[in-house]
């Protein structure tokens, strides 16, 4: 029988999973663990018994999130034995579940928000069928957040194998992809950038998905070099709404089925409440939620659009608005720049000064003056970072995105 989950040298089969879910007779509504298999098992127990469950990061400090009763952390609740004997029965029971699943936003900006989802809202874009049953998924997201849950359900509902890559080093990732015959990968652009420069190719991977952050043409080219046989696409998902749109290049298409539930106002993407999980801390404007994502239409009639930036991330420099992601994209096009984070520092002359932290590629000697001169042909003067620091690593959020300061 196929493994359900592989983590390092340990492999957990679907038969073990079914046997333990049937026998143990309890679950944890509020569970914090660094054991990813135990975490998945607990989630599935909650789902098959239609009990509420709150998903917490393994390293979360309860003071970081509001509305969590810390006294009941890792406290067992009896649910009785359940009569599940086959993988098919387990999957059906999960699909029928009415459990409420509470997750938290990653807090890229501000305090994490709690959002309540159901299996239906988390599995909107899951595809099942014979053509998916031999997929082997590299698991590169935090398991407690939206993107990780999307990958989990896509793999689980097809009884596929998940292989843990989250938090592994670059050389481990290359090794695991090869030795475990991974065919499908879904991760943030930051994850793929960590695989650069191209060390070896992974011909067994047939599908590569990027999500969670803006990516750039330079990264696409390199991803295609590492994964020469893969179709590369992008997914737009949010903690509030789950997965909504997919793309083949940098353009997203709104599916016909939800075309009337998406609006654009002042370039901002608005999402109808019927597509959302529920949350007390999420404010609606009429029936619509302001996503904070700024877009431009490529073909409005076809529902094709491109992301520009996050609304609250624009930096005001002496009255000019600078999109940090545009500057990051320009920096990443310079040879020797592996990762870049652009942010504003308050300043008495201009309000803000553009600053950049850069992680250089191994073997490159970069200097600030050279970087600025290289940018002069690409960016307007006011967008060029005035303070450039070279660093070994950049801080990431719990979901593996660049942390904005």
């Amino acid at each position: 029988m196929k493994p359900f989950f592989i983590d390092g040298s340990r492999s957990y089969g679907y038969s073990l999973l079914i046997e333990e879910i049937g026998r143990e007779g309890f679950y944890y509504p509020l569970y914090r663990t660094s054991d990813t298999y135990a975490y998945w098992k607990n989630l599935l127990k909650a789902l098959v018994s239609s009990r509420a469950v709150t998903l917490l990061d393994s390293d979360i400090n309860p003071s970081e999130i509001a509305g969590v009763d810390i006294a009941s952390l890792n406290e067992r609740v009896e649910i009785g034995r359940c009569e599940i004997e086959t993988t098919g029965q387990l999957i059906d029971a999960v699909k029928r579940s009415t459990a409420e699943i509470s997750i938290f936003t990653s807090g890229t900006t501000g305090q994490p928000k709690k959002i309540v989802h159901t299996v239906a809202s988390l599995t909107r874009t899951v595809r099942t069928g014979e053509k998916y049953e031999n997929d082997v998924w590299g698991f590169a997201y935090n398991p407690t957040h939206m993107a990780g849950l999307q990958v989990f359900f896509q793999a689980f509902e097809n009884a596929c194998t998940l292989v843990n890559l989250f938090g592994k080093s670059r050389s481990e990732i290359y090794e695991i992809i090869k030795s475990r015959h991974i065919t499908h990968l879904s991760a943030t652009p930051t994850f793929y950038r960590l695989l650069l420069p191209v060390e070896r190719t992974c011909p067994g991977v047939v599908r590569v998905t990027l999500g969670g952050e803006r990516s750039d043409a330079h990264l696409y080219e390199n991803i295609q070099k590492i994964f020469p046989n893969a179709k590369v696409n992008n997914i737009y998902a949010s903690t509030e709404a789950g997965a909504l749109f997919a793309s083949k290049d940098d353009c997203f298409r709104i599916p016909d089925a939800i075309r009337d539930k998406i609006k654009v106002s002042d370039s901002e993407l608005l999402i109808h409440e019927s597509l959302l999980g529920t949350s007390e801390s999420m404010s609606l404007d009429g029936d619509y939620y302001h996503s904070g994502d700024l877009i431009e239409w490529v073909d409005e009639a076809q529902g094709l659009f491109r992301f520009i930036s996050r609304k609250n991330e624009m930096i005001n420099v002496g009255g000019y608005k600078v999109n940090p992601e545009e500057v990051e994209t320009a920096l990443l096009s310079i040879a020797g720049v592996r990762q870049a984070l652009v942010y504003g520092k308050s300043n008495s002359v201009l309000g803000n000064v553009i600053c950049a932290d850069i992680v250089p590629d191994d073997g490159y000697e970069l200097d600030a003056v050279g970087i600025k001169q290289a940018l002069q042909g690409i960016l307007q003067d006011f967008k060029i970072p005035r303070r450039i620091k070279f660093v070994e690593t950049l801080p990431l959020t719990r979901t593996g995105k660049l942390k904005r300061v």
């Binding site: 420099v317 300043n347 008495s348 201009l350 000064v353 600025k372 001169q373 005035r386 303070r387």
Partner: protein, 74 residues
């Protein structure tokens, strides 16, 4: 201190492809003599703040090199 200020100003001038200066005069005007724009002045303040912990524009406009020395000597 004067050497550090010269080095910062030369870095800014190099980025703009202007010639590197051997020395600064106290009477040098930041805009007209040294060709610094307001973006360059903002960079200058950030760099000086990084090195000396002083925001030279905090108490108002600074026009000349001599005035920068004055703020830093306080």
């Amino acid at each position: 201190m004067e050497e550090q200020v010269l080095s910062i100003i030369n870095d800014i001038r190099k980025s703009k492809r202007l010639n590197v200066l051997d020395a600064l005069k106290e009477t040098d005007n930041l805009r007209t003599d040294l060709n610094l724009t307001s973006f360059d002045l903002a960079e200058l303040t950030v760099r000086i703040e990084d090195e000396f912990g002083v925001d030279i524009f905090e108490e108002g406009i600074v026009n000349t090199i001599g005035e920068i020395y004055g703020r830093l000597a306080k």
